[in-house]
């Protein structure tokens, strides 16, 4: 079918709504982002390449994307578990726990970073015990993962919870009547139903972790090559008035993030298509 901008539609106001959407997206997302690209364009290709592939910068990409991936994966399984408990069981204090889930959203990330650092430092409540086991959390990449888990925890829970609530218990009963074990029911019936929500939650948690700055810088220790995240590098460059260097790194981050999110969205569509067509 040839592309047509204007279609006959029973829903009125397409022109106005579409115009508003485009304007909004431009003002809020596209113009600020393209500013980063324009600023970067002032650099020669060689300069750009040397800035974004400096060993210290490469190490920060690995750390940022690696720690975000690990945190998102952990939150996906833990979030599924918590959502399951919140949906399937009733217990005293359930509403309280349900409300606590959103707290990492509301808390200033710096507060979270300081609190986590105090807890996990070598002399902190948890850190002192982990130190006995020879595990160091604060001021290491592990600390970054802990901070990222904290700030991205609500996503998976909040995306999976409504889908789990909508799952008909009858479908599971039908599986049981047909002889399926609990595990088979979960793997073959429940998991396919919640997979799109799970993937969405994972994507949101991952994206949020990549961009996180406030909580990480307190717990990370920020050692170059070891525990220095990309957002921190950008801020460092800004403080040195190296605006072009900062935007160059930001552009690389943007491109990688965009490609990753696109990939996940395609994956999402593919898994969705398998049973809706």
């Amino acid at each position: 079918m040839p592309f047509r901008l204007k279609q006959r539609n029973v829903l009125p106001g397409f022109n106005l709504a579409m115009g508003y959407t485009l304007l909004y997206m431009c003002l809020i997302v596209l113009i600020p982002l393209s500013a980063a690209f324009i600023k970067t364009a002032g650099l020669s290709w060689a300069d750009f390449w040397s800035i974004v592939t400096a060993p210290r910068v490469l190490a920060s990409y690995r750390l940022t994307f690696g720690a975000s991936l690990i945190a998102a994966l952990i939150n996906t399984s833990a979030g599924l578990f918590i959502a399951w408990v919140l949906v399937r069981y009733s217990f005293p204090g359930k509403r309280l726990i349900d409300a606590l889930v959103d707290l990492p959203f509301a808390l200033p990330t710096a507060v979270a970073g300081i609190a986590l650092t105090a807890l996990y430092a070598g002399n902190g409540w948890i850190g002192s015990y982990l130190a006995l086991l020879g595990i160091k959390v604060a001021f290491t990449p592990l600390g970054i993962v802990v901070a990222l888990i904290f700030i991205s925890m609500p996503f998976v829970i909040r995306t999976v919870q409504p889908v789990l609530e909508d799952l008909e218990p009858e479908v599971e009963e039908a599986a049981a009547c047909l002889g399926a074990t609990r595990w088979q029911t979960f793997r073959r019936i429940i998991l396919p139903a919640i997979r799109p929500a799970l993937l969405t939650g994972f994507t949101l948690a991952f994206a949020r972790s990549i961009g996180e700055y406030g909580s990480v810088i307190f717990i990370a220790g920020n050692l170059p090559m070891v525990s220095e995240i990309t957002p921190l590098l950008i801020v460092t460059k800004l403080e040195q008035y190296d605006y072009r260097g900062a935007t160059a790194i930001a552009v690389v981050m943007l491109v990688i993030s965009f490609l990753l999110l696109l990939l996940i969205n395609l994956l999402q569509r593919w898994s969705h298509q398998r049973y809706t067509t």
Partner: protein, 371 residues
């Protein structure tokens, strides 16, 4: 497989869903659990399936207690009102599910599964839908697929929870005839829950009428319709007219009607209610005898296809009475709204008002003496 239900009770908090239910379902029969919503019929079905556990009592399959057996080991097929199909699986995979989840040792080969699914699809006459997804099917098709899925594991008992409840009238009628034919082919012991009396009367070999967690009556469709054991069964199956009156030393007086009732010989002025089906009433132009007729006025005449229904108001107390007669009979003496008539029940039953279960009902065939 025969099912024996022995003294089964189930409570949800303070609500008694089942109260010492006793029931025997012979092998190969198609039994309907009939009752209003909240009467415990679905709970009973779910306990038979093992989806719910009883507080007291037990259920025997072929004489063997099943209480300790898990749902998946009971070998029952369960069909849900809202189909409960697996949305992300094709029709083929839905039906094959029960075979695929078997432990490896008992799992059929891929060819055997394919053959079995094809056989079931042709049994439910939907071969061409194998590759579709549940969301692409109509309600009637979904329920047939759900049935095929339940039959795939070769269950010994088939349990259906309001299987046609979510379908429109025409499809429902088609599907229940089809279920009856299917049962005649397979002879698998089946229990289905319904609140639709017509459905139960048409499909079942036997009807179990339930109310407030108790079995009110068990019998063939004809038995429960023609000889209801309790006032509840009378009211629930088919239309009825009520005549309020009193029973006193062997006689029951209902408005202008006086009936001999030897069963109530020792009864001293108890409130009583007579139940009369609309088609068990004659309408006379002239009073026959003051003791066997009640005078009334026709209020409305409506034609219902093969039947004509007349609404009357009794002259003495203004109670309304419904009468049904065939078109031919009405044509012989077409009454109009406003006409004065005399109501003569041909057949009625009297129950005392206090405890309908304890007192025997009085049958009356219109000649003035109890049966």
């Amino acid at each position: 497989m025969s099912i024996t239900i022995h003294s089964l009770s189930k409570r949800f908090g303070s609500f008694t869903a089942l109260d010492r239910v006793e029931l025997e379902i012979p092998k190969g029969e198609l039994v309907a659990l009939l009752g209003p919503s909240g009467c415990g019929k679905t709970t009973l079905l779910r306990i038979i399936a093992g989806l719910e556990s009883a507080d007291e009592g037990n259920i025997l399959f072929d004489g063997e207690d099943t209480s300790a057996r898990h749902v998946r080991d009971r070998n029952v097929g369960f069909v849900f009102q809202h189909y409960a199909l697996f949305q992300h699986m094709s029709v083929f995979e839905n039906i094959a599910f029960g075979l695929r989840v078997r432990p490896r040792a008992r799992r059929p080969s891929e060819e055997q599964i394919r053959a079995k699914v094809q056989e079931l699809l042709s049994l439910v006459q939907l071969e061409w839908l194998a590759g579709r997804y549940p969301s692409q099917l109509s309600g009637g098709q979904r329920q047939r697929i759900a049935l095929a899925r339940a039959l795939a594991v070769e269950p010994q008992v088939l349990l259906l929870d309001e299987p046609f409840g979510a379908l429109d009238t025409k499809v429902r009628k088609e599907l229940r005839r089809w279920l009856r034919r299917l049962h005649d082919e397979l002879h698998i012991t089946s229990v289905f829950v319904t609140h639709d009396q017509e459905e139960a009367l048409e499909v079942a070999d036997r009807i179990v009428v339930m109310n407030h967690g108790r079995v009110e009556q068990i019998g063939s469709p004809q038995q429960v319709y023609d000889a209801p054991a309790t006032p509840f069964v009378y009211q629930f199956l088919g239309h009825i007219n009520l005549f309020h009156g009193r029973a006193h030393s062997g006689w029951v007086r209902l408005g202008g009607l006086r009936i001999q009732a030897p069963e109530y010989q020792n009864t001293e002025s108890m409130p009583a209610i007579a139940y009369v089906r609309p088609h068990d009433i004659d309408l006379l132009r002239e009073p026959e005898d003051s003791d066997t007729t009640i005078s009334a006025t026709v209020v409305r005449v409506s034609s219902l296809g093969s039947l004509v229904r007349l609404e009357l108001l009794q002259d003495s107390d203004g109670e309304s009475t419904e009468v049904e007669m065939t078109r031919e009979r009405y044509a012989a003496d077409p009454l109009q709204a406003g006409d004065q008539v005399f109501v003569k029940p041909r057949y009625l039953r009297v129950f005392l008002n206090d405890d309908p279960k304890r007192t025997p009902p009085v049958h009356w065939n219109g000649d003035g003496d109890g049966i």
